[in-house]
């Protein structure tokens, strides 16, 4: 286990990223996805980076059958070019994904562009929108910790 910085979470060195249960190269067999997620959990992996709607649906089913003794990262897609770069947009993403997950809280949320490489620093207006949305999610007890988009550009 390693410490995830000031979040205080103790996470496995190896977390579950995307593309396995969903994503462009994935199969779309929901029963199989649930089995695969349970297999990964049974191996002791405790961090899940849910990137796709299908992953959220598979995790929702997993959460019905076992206690949540692991951590979940959600994501808010950031599209400044499509006017999806406001505090309201981030909160809408978080609330929708929590509802789809059937959970009242998650552990981390990431702001990311759909290419995964959005500039980590945009305008001051955008930074303030991100800051305010994080503060609200934390204050509401929905999501306490926040993950940056990739700080390394492709």
């Amino acid at each position: 286990m390693r410490r995830l910085g000031r979040t205080g979470l103790e996470v496995t060195e190896f977390g579950c990223g995307g593309y396995f249960t969903a994503g462009p190269n994935a199969h779309h067999d929901m029963e199989r996805q649930v089995r695969e997620l349970n297999f990964i959990l049974d191996q002791g992996v405790n961090f899940f980076d849910l990137q796709w709607d299908l992953e959220i649906e598979a995790m929702r089913r997993v959460l019905k059958s076992r206690p949540k003794d692991f951590y979940i990262n959600l994501r808010a897609m950031w599209y400044p070019e499509a006017n999806r770069s406001s505090k309201e947009h981030i909160l809408e993403c978080a609330n929708r994904e929590l509802k789809e997950l059937g959970a009242d809280h998650a552990d981390v949320i990431q702001i990311t562009h759909n290419d995964g490489y959005s500039p980590p620093v945009t305008s001051d207006v955008h930074l303030e929108a991100i800051r305010e949305s994080f503060a609200q999610l934390k204050q509401q007890g929905k999501i306490p910790s926040f993950l940056s988009p990739s700080m390394t550009q492709r």
Binding site: R2, R6, V11, P149, M151
Partner: protein, 107 residues
């Protein structure tokens, strides 16, 4: 680093970091000093979906494979995790077999 001051609301930073791309090394060290977590993507040195392109003769993988008896994937994962300031690696996964291989690299 100025960038970390501007985005001080992030508790964890995501970086690309692997044996072929070490640009984030300084940022990883600074993040650790600021008590931020560090999550790594692209630990295998390339975009997900093209895992067949690692050259096992690439330094430093060759030495890692020889010493540990591991596959190229396991060696790549172990190389990234050898940086103690990394919190976790979240590689893309494509099959149960890949999961088993990745897990074996860290056990």
């Amino acid at each position: 680093m100025k960038i970390l001051e501007k985005v001080d609301f992030y508790d964890v930073v995501m970086v690309i970091y692997n044996f072929l791309d070490r640009r984030a090394e300084h940022l990883i060290r600074l993040a650790h000093q600021r008590n931020l977590g560090t999550m790594v993507m692209k630990a295998f040195g390339m975009p997900s979906g093209s895992l067949g392109q690692i050259d096992p003769s690439d330094e430093p993988l060759e030495g890692l494979i020889t010493k540990g008896g591991k596959s190229v994937w396991q060696a790549a994962l172990r190389w990234t995790l050898s940086n103690a300031n990394i919190s976790t690696v979240v590689p893309g996964m494509h099959s149960i077999e890949e999961i088993k291989e990745d897990l074996a690299a860290v056990r």
